[in-house]
């Protein structure tokens, strides 16, 4: 802080001395500042500043100093780092180095056509993030979300640094918390817990000092394992409980207590970045309210079509933490008409961002607990529908992997299967190469959101048709 002050004063002094120390007074005459090396000196340690003898000169000097003082005072209390501010009205804001920050982000996983999730894009010599980052910046994106870091920390740092230094884009780093480990994530097992915790803390130690880092997200939809819906796990104690409802509660207690434990450990190592709890919908957050108070925000994975419904209010009631929509969006393939429909995707995304903005901390009419969102996802991934068939990774599959009535335009598709995993990108991939990577073709949603972010006008959905 002191160095900053010195530099500022020096800068003013240099400006005052420029133009051969001639300063125009209010009556238009010119005065020359005559610095005296001996008499009436102000010493600021850096160099000697002369006393200003003329009234006009003194006035300007005083005004400059006042401005400087205000500047110093206003910056003196600025908290560095990334943190969440709770306002007097109980609304929340994400702050980055003292300034409010709305997360306008995307989930980022640049898998080229013909490869699958095992592809090591971090070491791609063509650096896809350079091309993507440029497009992102032009759109207004300020954040990417990475689900998991790579084993080569230098490459991870390079990505974070390139995106931040070139485009000002910050990174949210995550960890799967062993969710996909075979046969299941044993969250009730101490050894498993220790292994996962160690992995997370190593990540934090490695990247906490990266200027481009925005925060941490622990897990994704791991809470579903507590319900037995995905990757179910148990413990001998849980198995002894005959009531399946109580079993769920017991698993939730174990899981959220574990996350809380990790969160506390992360804060000890890195007090400068917030920790998010990755969570599918709001399921289980009544337990989180009891056992996981040390996380800073909820990173919610949610697919509810054009509206998040009462999500923001419901979170207030169950677990009063700010929320980042960490995974949401819409695909752009009409499974009923069997053709790409960019209007449909743009419609849903615009509606969703309307609601995100409506519930930001600086908006009066919302719940004030939203920090922003990271859209799923930046670019299409051509491997997702038929994951076991490498040949299909070269094809843009039009098969749907799941069904959701919330995306109602194509819900009349066969067996109501309307969610096309390979078509969620807001940029499409072309087989044609450009700069060594698949050419990026921004979809309509890209432009619609670009305009929305430039001038966010919140409007209620009046019609339900994509135009």
């Amino acid at each position: 802080m002191l160095t900053t002050t010195r530099k500022a004063l020096h800068s003013i002094w240099m400006k005052l001395n420029s133009n051969k120390n001639r300063i125009k007074t209010r009556d238009g005459s010119q005065l020359k500042a005559e610095p005296s090396p001996k008499k009436g000196q102000f010493t600021f340690g850096l160099r000697t500043v002369p006393e200003i003898k003329t009234t006009g000169y003194r006035l300007i000097w005083l005004v400059a100093c006042s401005f400087l003082l205000v500047f110093i005072l206003s910056n003196y209390n600025v908290k560095k780092g990334v943190y969440i501010q709770k306002l007097e009205n109980k609304y929340y804001r994400l702050m980055v180095n003292g300034k409010p920050y709305i997360v306008k982000g995307v989930c980022y996983n640049p898998i080229p056509i013909g490869s699958n999730h095992e592809y090591d894009w971090w070491s791609d010599p063509n650096k896809p993030w350079i091309v993507d980052g440029k497009l992102m910046k032009q759109m207004g994106i300020n954040t990417i979300r990475l689900y998991q870091t790579h084993e080569n920390s230098n490459e991870v740092k390079q990505v974070i640094r390139d995106l931040y230094n070139l485009y000002g884009i910050r990174t949210l780093l995550g960890d799967w918390l062993g969710f996909w480990e075979y046969p299941c994530p044993f969250y009730g097992d101490k050894k498993f817990q220790d292994k996962v915790k160690k992995q997370v803390l190593e990540m934090v130690s490695l990247y906490k000092d990266e200027p481009g880092l925005l925060g941490w997200i622990l897990g994704n939809e791991n809470n579903y394992s507590c319900l037995g819906q995905v990757n179910p796990w148990s413990t001998p104690e849980v198995d002894l409980e005959p009531d399946p409802q109580k079993q769920k509660k017991m698993r939730a207690q174990i899981y959220y207590s574990f996350i809380n434990d990790i969160s506390k450990a992360v804060h000890k190592i890195d007090p400068d970045h917030p920790v998010g709890l990755g969570n599918g919908e709001l399921i289980g957050l009544d337990s989180a309210n009891q056992f996981c108070q040390d996380v800073d925000f909820v990173a919610c994975i949610i697919y509810r079509g054009k509206t998040f419904g009462n999500l923001f209010r419901s979170l207030r009631m169950t677990f009063d933490k700010p929320i980042l929509l960490a995974e949401f969006g819409a695909d752009c393939y009409d499974a009923y008409l069997k053709k790409e429909d960019q209007n449909m995707q743009a419609f849903f995304l615009e509606q969703q961002w309307n609601q995100i903005y409506e519930n930001l901390g600086d908006k009066k009419n919302g719940e004030g607990n939203c920090l922003g969102g990271t859209i799923f996802e930046w670019a299409d991934e051509w491997w997702k529908h038929t994951q076991d068939s490498p040949d299909s990774w070269k094809e843009h599959d039009t098969g749907a992997g799941w069904s959701s009535g919330s995306y109602y335009f194509d819900i009349r598709a066969e067996k109501n299967m309307n969610m096309n995993e390979e078509w969620f990108g807001i940029v499409a991939l072309s087989p044609e190469l450009e700069n060594g990577i698949n050419k990026r073709i921004p979809r309509k949603a890209y432009y619609v959101l670009r305009e929305f972010w430039k001038k966010p006008v919140i409007k209620k959905a009046r019609n339900n048709k994509a135009k």
């Binding site: 409802q245 419901s314 959701s404 009535g405 109602y408």
Partner: protein, 382 residues
């Protein structure tokens, strides 16, 4: 003087023209759906017979106490489930039998309500609902409004369907009604007369009414108190048998709901369930949620045929679509007792202002390899 004459002459030419324009802009005040048999003002035809259409008899020149004119329409519903649907109904269409496959209908912009007169032969007959619009197809209606259930009186009574603010630019399904065997187990006879659209400039838009508690989903087989229809059959729907009139040891009243889940995996899903919806089969595509903001809980009674049957989930709300439920709440898994047991879904703090999916259950073959038979009764919001 000459000038005055010219002005008067000009006014005499313009004023009638202006008045005519104004009259034209105002449009007609009424538009008949049905007035009397063969009346030239009838615009729609009662041609869209639905559900157990074999259970319906129609006499469109019933001279027995018409509300006005020379006749009314008499409907006799037998509730015999001729097509095994458990419900029946009729749409007035234009042209006849138009299920949205032909361009027809009318632009009724400017109309604000539909009124009709109805009475039951005895009183107590229940129309499950009456409808305006709602026909889909290539040429879908621009409006879909429903009202009901309606318990008829023995005397003529006028009913009004508020259409203020609705898009009436294309209406093919001018009017319709449905009845169910559950609500009229012995069948019913009722009369309808003088169905018409009206332009009532003073009518205000219908505000969503907060429903009073208790608000029943199922009280008993044939009661107008029931809301929501058990129409949303999910998963292995072929594994489910539903009896809404079971007399096997009902918890309260004459009947309860009996559900048999076979666990055979007919559709290959390995699970099954039923959503109670409003209206039937509404997966969020019809704007028809109830405002249940006054509720703090949903209670119901349940028992298993043997005890030990496992229901994975009982649920309120959670239907997501163009019009989504405002919230959801669940309990489960629940292992049923052989004796009637009351269960509660806590709704405190929930946003129940818009509910299409009133109640649901689901179970699966993994936890019920031999299937499951269970009973439900007295399902209500309190």
């Amino acid at each position: 003087m000459k000038k005055l004459i010219i002005v008067m002459l000009a006014l005499s030419l313009f004023v009638p023209a202006f008045a005519a324009t104004e009259e034209k802009a105002a449009g007609p005040k009424e538009f008949m759906v049905y007035l009397d048999k063969n009346a030239k003002d009838n615009h729609f035809i009662p041609s869209g017979w639905m559900g157990d259409y074999g259970d319906i008899k129609m006499n469109d020149q019933a001279a027995d106490k018409p509300h006005a004119g020379t006749s009314s329409i008499q409907f006799i519903y037998s509730a015999k489930k001729a097509q095994n649907q458990g419900w029946a109904g009729i749409y007035w269409q234009n042209p006849s039998n138009n299920w949205g496959n032909k361009k027809g209908g009318f632009d009724l912009t400017g109309m604000t309500k539909v009124t009709f007169w109805a009475r039951g032969a005895k009183g107590g007959e229940i129309l499950q609902k009456v409808m305006v619009g709602g026909i889909k197809g290539t040429y879908p209606d621009t409006v879909s409004v429903e009202m009901g259930p309606i318990e008829l009186t023995a005397d003529w009574k006028q009913y009004t369907i508020n259409l203020v603010g609705k898009d009436l630019s294309y209406v093919n399904g001018g009017f319709g009604w449905t009845v169910t065997a559950d609500l009229n187990p012995e069948g019913c006879t009722f009369y309808i007369d003088d169905i018409k659209y009206e332009a009532d400039a003073d009518l205000k838009p219908e505000s969503k009414k907060q429903e009073d508690m208790p608000f029943y989903i199922y009280a008993d087989r044939s009661t107008a108190k029931n809301h929501f229809i058990p129409s949303g059959w999910m998963g292995d729907y072929g594994d489910i048998k539903y009896d809404g009139s079971s007399k096997e040891d009902a918890y309260l009243g004459d009947t309860c709901i009996k559900i048999i889940y076979s666990g055979q995996g007919t559709q290959g899903a390995r699970w099954a369930g039923i959503f109670w919806q409003n209206p039937a089969n509404n997966w969020g595509n019809v704007d028809a949620g109830f405002d249940l903001s006054k509720t703090i809980k949903l209670t119901f009674w349940a028992r298993g045929a043997k005890g030990g049957e496992r229901i994975e989930e009982f649920k309120v709300g959670g239907i997501m679509g163009e019009f989504s439920d405002s919230d959801s709440a669940t309990i489960g898994p629940v292992i049923l007792n052989k004796e009637w047991t009351q269960y509660t879904i806590d709704l405190k703090g929930k946003d129940m202002s818009y509910i299409i999916g009133g109640f649901a259950w689901s179970t699966n073959v993994d936890n019920n390899p031999e299937g499951a038979t269970f009973y439900l009764d007295e399902i209500k919001f309190e």
